[in-house]
Amino acid sequence: MKAGVIIFPGSNCDRDAITALKDITGQDPVQIWHKTTEWPKGLDFVVVPGGFSYGDYLRCGAMAGNSPIIPELKAFANSGGHILGICNGFQILTETGLLPGALLRNAGLNFVCRNERLIVSPNSSAFTSEYQSGSEIIVPVAHHDGNFFADDATLDMLEGDGRVAFRYADNPNGSARDIAGILSENRRVLGMMPHPERAIGGHEGGSDGRAMFTGVMNALATA
């Protein structure tokens, strides 16, 4: 699997994603600077990392959603590439329209950083292929604007089409229907607020996030 990580000014989980990918795939992912308009050749999987792109001084992810790299990212998605947007990356994916909905300020108004229990929803994506449907995993969250919002029709559609990837067991931010992560229609783009790249073992975040990366890797290997 050839992986890449997009870096915006203000991204700060880019190194976490690079570390996780290197640890799990054994290869250095390609670092893609946001001003690039030349997409690296042969990529299978791209992480849009967390952080505060452009300081998030405008609506979270709004500036990054209009960065020079975004048309290339959309083309990659349209060509069937796998994309994982984590935290700010999820916010950016909703801003680009690759995923529906929006992330509002947490219902409790405060930034929240803690390990959360997530329930794996029934779905058929590479990202969740190595988790048992309905099982519980622990993945850390760290965000101020993680309150997932969409209109009822969109929420019904996401649920009806099996596009909810994860739900919170103890909703930390007021997200609609406890949604922690959602998939694109082709199941190849996942956006989620929790940080699987901070749950790869050897630290406070636990190791439940590893299977997300190995799931994609193994799915791509057998594809």
Partner: protein, 760 residues
């Protein structure tokens, strides 16, 4: 349209206006200092020059009241690469790497404008660390607020915590540890002390010193605005009611720009372009240029600096030289480049969309020369600003000794469980989850243990290795107030103990000395004796001071804060798989005390919170036992490295009762235990008395038999089991159980802060 020629001429004229003694007095320069100034200069200064003298000679920049006492600190051991005097301290952590760290206060700004004051405190301490070539890997903060019932406390807590989180979370450095305490003594003057720890390669450490003449001076980062002018002078004066109106002197932070500045500086540091570098902190462009000039030259003989202020990137038009030189706009750096490296540097800063300009040259004149609109607006020798700043031997009084604490004056509580409940839910001891859940503790992916476990020190892995740093911050101001010498020793000893408790070898400390007005001999006495106590402990424990900050004049309306010398400790863990925290206790484990010191209720949590005593009546603190501290520290580190413990916690506030309760809460398992001598003497003192050099350990039977305890007297006090905490007093058949369920204790311990912040 503005006639810019006319405006320029007006500015230059104003800048060149000769100043007299009454102008100097308005700048906080006293008669003695004025005489010193005009003698050294040989004439009266103009406005720009006076402004520069006033900030450089302020307490904040010159340490004029504390300098001669700070020299008592041991500053070297076999690990120290750079001690005090640079932007931050540097220690050798092996494998060609170094840890670079410092703690600094932002007390006054945080009281006036808590969000921005705390945020820029974080930004400033981060710059001190990455200026030296280190990637920041951890943030710690030590916060002290007024009593919870004070009308301002709640909003100050909210503002400071949001400010620290807002900055640290955005910049992407984990906030891994800290302390939050409350006391009426901080009602008018809160303390916000922030510490940053960074990681660098030893062959890529950058210093403020070493610039040579004839090289370009390079300004990078944010534009200069009118914010924060005279912040250093503000931090060197007492407060009075209504000083919130000083808000315009508080700077505004921009963590996004800081993040870009970190990346750009570290990228430039990979090239061979920088000769010397200094961040623009307090007193901005003035102190950064003066400090680089003063420590410049191949042998540190000092050099000169000539700058054209028209080239300084400015946020608004019409700024005067005075404003440009004194501005404390954030997220700025000054560097001296090696010849011909301007283009390399410029390209990197362009990539990160940051301003970067050559604004002057280093010279061999030893003078600071500034030009604006083509005219010289400042021409003064550098040496008197820095090396030759005032250095006072302030008169001081020996702090009074307190009478011994007499427990017999007070009725013994009937149920010790009630005491435990009250102590564990009092503002100082209650869980600070409300605070630390607002900090990103996990970004960078190397946080092995943070505030989450309530442990003694955070553990942060050294990226890509199997090693880790342990980091803690400590101060018991009640001990220091009771006896500054013993209390000062105790502060350093507690840091040593907290690092040892997670299995780290204590290496060095940074300090943040927060006191009142040094011009008052009684306050100065506490400053002197606390420093001497700390210095004694640093020496005996081989635990030197490598960086630090002094914050004086923490007074409001003539009332000083409790003496609060905070210590940030850093230790090294060679194998991150061999650590201990307080959360690993399992059902069936023994509870073991390693102590060999006597319990003590003077100046204790019990005396303060249960008996409600204050000041003199609290009595003296326990004396530090440094020899025992070393022996027990080494023994505990050996046990941890051998893997023969499940959990370790140091004994501090609230004695073994509170320490055991914290282990039980963290481990989710009950515990029942007695004092060290059941049925003998005061069991209250045995259980709630505070003792130096002591640890509680959870250990299972298999581990216990492997202990080689020769020369030590570990004492089994009880057992982890069930879902209650039981303190046992008396001997069979008259044993009394004092019991509280874990759930009830947890509700009280976790509940206080959220309820308080909700105004409930």
């Amino acid at each position: 349209m503005t006639d810019t020629t006319d405006l320029s001429a007006k500015i230059v004229t104003a800048m060149q206006t000769v100043q007299n003694q009454s102008d100097a007095a308005e700048h906080g320069i006293n008669t003695e200092e004025w005489d010193r100034l005009i003698t050294r200069l040989g004439r009266h200064p103009n406005l720009v020059e006076l402004g520069i003298y006033s900030v450089m000679w302020s307490e904040h920049c010159s340490y004029k009241s504390s300098r001669r006492h700070l020299s008592k600190f041991p500053t070297k051991n076999e690990f120290v690469i750079q001690g005090p005097g640079e932007n931050a301290g540097v220690i050798d952590i092996g494998d060609g790497q170094a840890a670079i760290f410092k703690m600094e206060s932002h007390n006054h700004p945080s009281y006036i404008e808590p969000y921005q004051g705390a945020a820029t405190g974080v930004g400033g301490i981060l710059r001190d660390v990455f200026t030296m070539g280190a990637r920041p890997i951890a943030l710690v903060n030590a916060l002290r607020f007024g009593e919870p019932d004070h009308p301002k406390t709640r909003s100050l807590v909210a503002g400071v915590v949001h400010g620290i989180g807002g900055y640290g979370n955005c910049v992407g450095v984990p906030t891994v540890a800290g302390e939050t305490q409350f006391d009426a003594g901080y009602n008018g003057n809160i303390l916000v002390n922030a510490m940053a720890v960074g990681l660098a390669d030893q062959d890529k450490i950058f210093y403020a010193r070493g610039a040579t003449p004839g090289n370009p001076i390079f300004y990078v980062g944010s534009k200069t605005g009118r914010d924060g002018i005279h912040g250093a002078t503000m931090a060197s004066a007492e407060f009075s009611e209504g000083d919130e109106e000083k808000r315009p002197t508080v700077q505004v932070g921009d963590p996004f720009t800081e993040k870009l500045l970190i990346e750009a500086c570290l990228e430039l540091m990979e090239t061979d372009a920088i000769q010397a570098i200094q961040d623009m902190g307090a007193a901005g462009l003035t102190s950064s240029s003066v400090e680089m000039a003063d420590s410049g030259g191949e042998n540190g003989e000092g050099i000169g600096v000539e700058m054209d202020l028209d080239k300084v990137p400015q946020r608004e038009e019409g700024m005067t030289a005075y404003e440009i030189m004194l501005s404390e706009s954030q997220e700025r750096m000054l560097m001296v480049l090696k010849p011909g490296k301007e283009a390399v540097a410029k390209a990197i800063f362009d990539k990160w969309d940051l301003d970067a300009e050559v604004i002057g040259m280093t010279t061999d004149t030893g003078r600071l020369v500034l030009k604006q609109h083509g005219e010289v607006v400042c021409d003064i020798p550098v040496a008197p600003l820095a090396d030759d700043a005032p250095n006072y031997d302030r008169p001081w009084n020996e702090p009074p000794k307190r009478a011994p604490f007499d427990l017999s004056k007070y009725a013994e509580p009937a149920d010790f469980a009630d005491v435990l409940l009250k102590l564990m839910s009092c503002p100082d001891m209650a869980s600070k989850r409300w605070v630390w859940e607002q900090y990103d503790r996990h970004v960078m992916g190397d946080t092995v243990d943070s505030s989450t476990s309530g442990g003694d020190a955070a553990i942060v892995r050294i990226h890509g290795t199997n090693k880790a740093l342990a980091i803690c911050s400590d101060c018991n101001p009640h001990y220091v107030a009771a006896d500054p010498f013993e209390g000062g020793k105790g502060v350093v000893a507690e840091a040593y103990r907290n690092l040892s408790a997670v299995g780290a070898k204590p290496i060095a400390i940074t300090d943040n000395l927060n006191f009142g007005n040094p011009e008052k001999p009684n306050t100065m006495g506490y400053i002197v004796k606390a420093i001497e106590g700390m210095a004694a402990a640093c020496g005996e424990l081989n635990f030197p001071v490598v960086s630090g900050n002094v914050s004086l004049y923490n007074e409001t309306d003539g009332v000083a804060i409790p003496p609060t010398p905070v210590v940030g400790g850093v230790g090294l863990i060679e194998d991150v798989t061999k650590v201990a925290t307080l959360k690993g206790a399992q059902a069936g484990d023994k509870l073991v005390l390693l102590s060999e010191t006597q319990p003590h209720l003077g100046a204790s949590l019990y005396a303060r919170e249960w008996l409600g005593l204050k000041g003199e009546e609290l009595g003296p603190p326990p004396s530090a036992m440094l020899d025992t501290e070393i022996d027990n520290g080494e023994f505990i580190r050996k046990l941890i490295s051998q893997g023969v413990v499940n959990a370790v916690h140091d004994v501090s506030d609230g004695g073994i009762a509170c320490a055991a309760a914290e282990m039980a809460l963290a481990g989710g398992v009950g515990v029942s235990f007695c004092g060290t001598e059941p049925g003998e003497g005061s069991e209250l003192t045995q259980l709630f008395g505070e003792r130096p050099a002591s640890y509680l350990i959870a250990v299972n039977d298999d581990q216990w038999v492997k202990w080689d305890s020769k020369g030590f007297l570990p004492t089994v006090l009880g057992k982890f089991e069930g879902d209650s905490i039981t303190l046992k007093t008396g001997v069979s058949p008259n044993i009394v159980d004092h019991t509280i369920t874990l759930e009830a204790l947890r509700d009280a311990h976790e509940g206080w802060m959220p309820r308080y912040m909700a105004g409930a």
